[in-house]
Subunit: 717 residues, 2 copies
Amino acid sequence: MRIRTMMLSAAMALALEARADEGMWLPSQLPDIEKNLKAAGFRGKAGDLADLTRAPLNAVVRVGGGTGSFVSADGLVVTNHHVAFGVIQYNSRPDRDLITDGYVAADRAAELPANPDYRLRVTVGFDKVTERILAGARGKTGKAYYDAVEAASKALVAECEKEPGIRCSVANMFYGRDFYLVKQLELRDVRLVYAPPRAIGNYGDEVDNFVWPRHAGDFTILRAYVGPDGKPADYSPQNTPYRPPSHLKLASEGVAEGDFVMLAGYPGITYRHRTAAEFADQIQWRLPTSVAVLTDLQNVIETQGKADKDAGIRYASQLQSLKNGIKRFSGELQGLQRSDAVAVRREDEVAMLAWLATRPEAKTLTPDIDAVKALIAQGRDTRDRDLLLGLLASQTQLMRGALALDRLAVERAKPDAERESGYQQRDEELIRSQLKQVQRRYDPKVEKALVTSLLLRYQKLPKAQHLPEVDAVFGLTPAELAKSLDRIYAVTAFGDEAARLRFFDATPAEVGKSDDALLVAARTLRPALLRMEEERKVREGDLLRLRPAYIQALIAYREKQGRAVYPDANSTLRVSYGKVTPLVARDAVAYAPVTTVKGIVEKNTGTIPFDAPKPLLDAIRKGDFAGYADPSTGEMPVDFLSNLDTTGGNSGSPVLNAKGELVGLNFDSNWEAVSASWMYDPRYKRAIHVDMRYMRWLMDKVYPSPSLLTELGVAPR
Amino acid sequence: MRIRTMMLSAAMALALEARADEGMWLPSQLPDIEKNLKAAGFRGKAGDLADLTRAPLNAVVRVGGGTGSFVSADGLVVTNHHVAFGVIQYNSRPDRDLITDGYVAADRAAELPANPDYRLRVTVGFDKVTERILAGARGKTGKAYYDAVEAASKALVAECEKEPGIRCSVANMFYGRDFYLVKQLELRDVRLVYAPPRAIGNYGDEVDNFVWPRHAGDFTILRAYVGPDGKPADYSPQNTPYRPPSHLKLASEGVAEGDFVMLAGYPGITYRHRTAAEFADQIQWRLPTSVAVLTDLQNVIETQGKADKDAGIRYASQLQSLKNGIKRFSGELQGLQRSDAVAVRREDEVAMLAWLATRPEAKTLTPDIDAVKALIAQGRDTRDRDLLLGLLASQTQLMRGALALDRLAVERAKPDAERESGYQQRDEELIRSQLKQVQRRYDPKVEKALVTSLLLRYQKLPKAQHLPEVDAVFGLTPAELAKSLDRIYAVTAFGDEAARLRFFDATPAEVGKSDDALLVAARTLRPALLRMEEERKVREGDLLRLRPAYIQALIAYREKQGRAVYPDANSTLRVSYGKVTPLVARDAVAYAPVTTVKGIVEKNTGTIPFDAPKPLLDAIRKGDFAGYADPSTGEMPVDFLSNLDTTGGNSGSPVLNAKGELVGLNFDSNWEAVSASWMYDPRYKRAIHVDMRYMRWLMDKVYPSPSLLTELGVAPR
């Protein structure tokens, strides 16, 4: 009778237990934490997971910006509907709307080729190359250190990619301590086999984004093909299914609350091991400042858009992206404040440094750690200016164009390999297309108001943050700023597309001599921007050199605490483990960790995004869930929630049960977990997965594909 | 570890148990259901609750449109902050903002008199008068029956109110089966003793309206005063506290999930015992049609308001009330559909009638029941027209004014007692003030567009629903309608306030001869409107006469099922009982039934309506909850949720524990329960109460009033 007490305290106990579940582990680390894995419920051998080029982890692949996994010997791959959405869209035509209707290939001949630039990558090598990367950097500092690491990386990649069909990259692990050469087989013929209708795969869309409870069937099945010689090949009818080195087995049963789960995938980026000062900067300065500055820009666009509808339409997309940024930054800030992240990280670091001071290695580590702290503190001196001037380029159209063309003219005078990244030959097409897009996204009043909003903030900064070139162009007072902008925008030819493209086609010398007011302004600003870039590279080079000391201290301190340290996420393959876990999101609000088809009916309004297809609603009404429903409740599951450690890039990651069988696909996080890129708070960090029972039921009863189920090893019931 | 399963199934079990908890019982019925009360956990004697003029129920009073209860021998009354809001507002001045700051009377001299029209009524008599009411009606039918009941009621009330300080009314119980004379002592000197700040009393305001989990401290303490002779008196410094016949005792402990609770109050109106046909009409016609028609009107105002900002402002309040209506009707519709109310009620009625057919009383009851069904079916013939023409008066300003003045001129020619209710001398001031208000709420374009929206629908109705007078005024086609409205609104003088008031002051003859276009239209429409009124009264009279047969059958059928029947709510004192109950609102969403102060901090944004006062936030941070926190969790409660059967009018109702001690004040329902006026669905029907522990903690630790706590019998801890 005391549900509340029972519920909250059980959930709290689970949450506390879950502290042990933080971590995006390198497969090679798993044997070291085997005891924890076993304690959490894993029933396999950690050693079997240690090598990502062997089964089962070599079944986990990169696909279309997310993660996928092989699920049959003939190259079937399962991933998210949203990860394969481009493929579905590419194959849709007015008379064959696969987005709306979904797709069930009748046989292999009916499998539809993906867009030609769609790629699937199988990791075939993952080797430590720290020595080769750092050999040339040792003894250097600042930008020289940075450049040496860059040069060694480029050389290694070039050498590795000599093998046909292979793509390589160098992964920086533990902030410059270790480097790995990642070698991937790149498959270029990927085909669409099975996709649910959009109203299943993306049920709830933006409204349900970041929302739990969720009711989306966010999965799609693809198949990888190779040439008749078994090697990667462009699409051809002669190609045959790729035989992957291994594939995952679909579980015959599902999971329930408290069950062990694990996940493998390619999380993008996290900041968990940043210093306490960087946490404080993020929470006390960067997030609130970004919210304030972007909110000002939002207000500028909204005010101007109200007065001039046409201008409003031109800036609609920029407005939406400002709103998204503000929402995300606010969510991250809220979450980090709720987790008291500044204090938690600071106390942890203070304790670590106090412990380090008692150890012999302090003699070598402490000077480097002090230097890291000094570099981070130094960045603070110009952070407001750096943020505002960064936005000056990214939030404008004409100004951005002039700055890009001025810089391009400088870089074009160099051999291509020596040009700054972003201004090489391969980048020119992008610059050109941005110059063209201006026409639909620009209004002189609005751009002047945006620049004004940013530069009024700049003008108020202390003198030490000022740059003489910026002051020269925009003046020191609001009146001077207004006068300067009025003059520049009145006379510049950049408002005209033909003029912009003429500048793009002009020689560096012509651009350098132009007296267009906006180009003159960009030319005046250039030395300041180059100085800022140089300073950034010096700092980054030194951080790359020094930060490993901090990481080494952290690893040693954690070892003393009995804990292992995973490297921050960097788009390499990681494994996390945890439990199917409810969420107590707010006072008196508890979310169960498994949703059911009843929720689809409850949410359904008949209009996008809650417009479940009739066959699905009929099947739910019919209630034929035998073999798929949860045996204890009789309910048909849809999605489930876990405390697995994930971040962007984990879309499509396979979720495995204690026996290593596939039970779900990761596809989203809850809103409360937006701050997890900095801190894993076990009370709120959750990941959202589509339940493989729902996928199988759809494939059996709603949009049947018995042959596919049989190939997946789970024949229709 | 299986929280979800545990949680849902336990909640479901609770919900099923709760089926027995439906009911707004007459106190006199309680001894009949004593077994149920005891089984639910009540520890007193049902007989002690049977007489609402004896303790403890005579401590429950009507106050300011809601319910209150005496809580001290010296006349302290506790009710909701929103029920006493007018008193707080009346006592606020620019230099003394009691709304923002709240109020703690330092002593009795500092207790502030309420607005002079604020009333508190203590029920002192509740007698069955069915015989006296129906004696003159027997043998009559239709309007004659209706008029006889009206006349007998008026006579009884007039006789009863001869006693000074007494207000009387006749309550129709079970749809004309029983009548009661309610006699109430009316106290006219009520004073403000203790009110929390608005940001506590109404924390969350509109955003949290109908929302659970809730965090409002929605209470205020008043005191009733009488003249030196102990009789009701207007405010005077010489008055002394009223000594109520009894008062409720504050519980020293609180409640937790599953605990028995009961509530006494004055629920306004319910339709639970309407016929299956009326349920079907409500769900299949009235609610969806009202939503459609009102949405059209909303669109009219929004479109016109966009084109003309000034007009938009004039119609802002009407727009808000349309939106509220649409939201409420939609919520009711959604709820009734979710409860499958049409089918549930129909099956129940079919079973009842089948059973009745086997009983001897069928001979007398069945013909009346058939007649009821026929009358209800008959109302369906003109329901669209009746709805639209009703809105024609209520959603316009000038049109409403002209219709009222035309009718008033007719009624003014009669002796006051014979005038139609709404047009008697006592109503004239209201009509006059509405005529004045027009100025701030009217724009000719908008009014014409609103009338057009309604009449275009009318024009499309089948011929049988048309009225010749309406067709004569507004024409038969959209073109004729536009022409007619353009003509009328171009020439009428009603747009001018002075002209309207001149018509109000004119003699009936002058009004009857006026050639103002709008008055001429009203005069032309009058015979149609009078016919509609007459037909309505005939039908209502017959329903009043016949419906008791339906009720008698229902009561007999329920008795056979082992269940008692409570009369539908009619603003008389009722008692309901139930449990502190969680809510499983949607798939995977469970709400605990007690909120805590942690939730106030979580919701707080620092801006209205989530701007908890600093003293409250400080006290929460300090955490001095000793003596008030839940002993098992250590958490400080704020509000709690029960399955008690309530409806509008129950605001401020005391919630009592198993020993009859005060543990909470009712103040709202959850959104899912909007449909409960028609059907109590145990899965979703919940009532929201402020926890008396929160009130006491605020009065002890945050805005202290030790003397008041002592008077309440719960001295500071």
